[in-house]
Symmetry: C2
Subunit: 236 residues, 2 copies
């Protein structure tokens, strides 16, 4: 009962079928897939569009559709810290530093589209991977949308809690990445020498209406973490 849509099922079937194939292996033609799976060519193209966007295949008009060589990594998708760590074969954990309701302030208010005097819940956590520090995470949520959050169990996945308890589903996020010099508090918590470099990610999580729901600043240890993603040429 994965995706009930045919194009989604077909996408997964094709992805499974080409697993292990060497790069540049041709897929069956669109008309052949269409006949073989008993779906229209439109549906086939919809599935292939998704695979192409994900960088799994490439298409050449007049020639065919081919398995793309995966060089470094797959395109970055929105993941929680827990998912991210498990994808890197690390065991995620968490130490709660603070959870309180505070005034939003100018920057957070602007990011969340609320007034500077509105209240936000701030959750500050030290995130661990395989038992040792990986990053400092500072989440801000509009207090009006998450009543009683500060009293919940915040040791696990915050994303799961937001989805299940508060029906806030974060579909996309805008991120700003910067390198910073860690201050004394930060380097002490992360267990690295003072003055070391850190990777700071400011993220604004958006719901399916592209409205801001969450503003998070995360500071990663430079020696243990990197960000991988694919960029493509696009039209203006």
């Amino acid at each position: 009962m994965a995706g009930q849509a045919k194009h989604e099922e077909l996408r997964q079937a094709l992805l499974a079928a080409m697993a292990g194939s060497p790069p540049h292996t041709p897929l069956p033609t669109e008309r052949e897939i269409s006949a073989r799976h008993g779906v229209s060519r439109n549906t086939v193209r919809q599935a292939l569009d998704a695979l192409e966007a994900a960088g799994s295949v490439y298409r050449v008009q007049g020639a065919g559709t081919f398995v793309a060589p995966s060089v470094v990594s797959k395109s970055l998708s929105l993941t929680s810290f827990s998912e991210d760590m498990r994808a890197r074969d690390l065991e995620p954990a968490s130490r709660l530093l603070a959870a309180q309701t505070v005034r939003a302030g100018r920057r957070i208010a602007e990011q969340l589209g609320i007034a500077p005097d509105d209240e936000v819940v701030r959750v500050s956590r030290l995130r661990l991977a395989d038992g040792s520090p990986m990053c400092l995470e500072n989440v801000h949520l509009p207090a009006a949308r998450v009543p009683g959050l500060a009293e919940e169990d915040l040791s696990g996945s915050l994303y799961d809690l937001l989805t299940e308890r508060y029906r806030l589903d974060i579909r996309s996020a805008e991120q700003i990445v910067r390198a910073v010099d860690l201050d004394e508090t930060e380097s002490a918590l992360l267990g690295v020498p003072p003055g070391s470099a850190g990777l700071r990610v400011r993220r604004v999580g958006l719901d399916r209406r592209e409205s801001p729901v969450e503003a998070t600043t995360t500071i990663y240890r430079a020696d243990r973490y990197d960000i991988r993603f694919t960029v493509r040429r696009s039209q203006p």
Copy 2:
């Protein structure tokens, strides 16, 4: 003479039409756009698909299609340093540090999919924005694909040169971003105190067949540069 495809023209027309509209303004219904522009609904959906992927609109089944609020930035697209700087209202410039043919070595060879003993052209440049240093750029290209490159004029856009002279069109790139502590040479060239943090971007440029064409390592000044992009939830 923009995009000759109807869905592409329609996409640009819709984008222009909604310029200036406040967020959450509803677009006409798909059936209405279809009738008004004299195209099929499929074509309309194709145009809207592109706008949705770019984060310009969002769609709600049963409700309509709406102008998306742009919070921070638009989704990152593949740009050259020159384009990138101009988008930030800075004037790009370049100082050539070295241009030579060398052995690829293990890491570069792996990134480019060639043998470690194959030759590559290495172009090392200090890139400036508004006259002061912004980053150190180290480009590696397979020597076989760019004969005579080291003798060309390398003060301008390398991407343009690759496209026009060597017919290498880079369509996408995979990037790995990391924070690093700058060494003495780097901090001296960039004009920052020794031991400062820097943002290191390792990029592998791919052609339309997703084959590696170029491997570049760029080290940006942490105080002048950030990376902005949008991530979306996706299926496995």
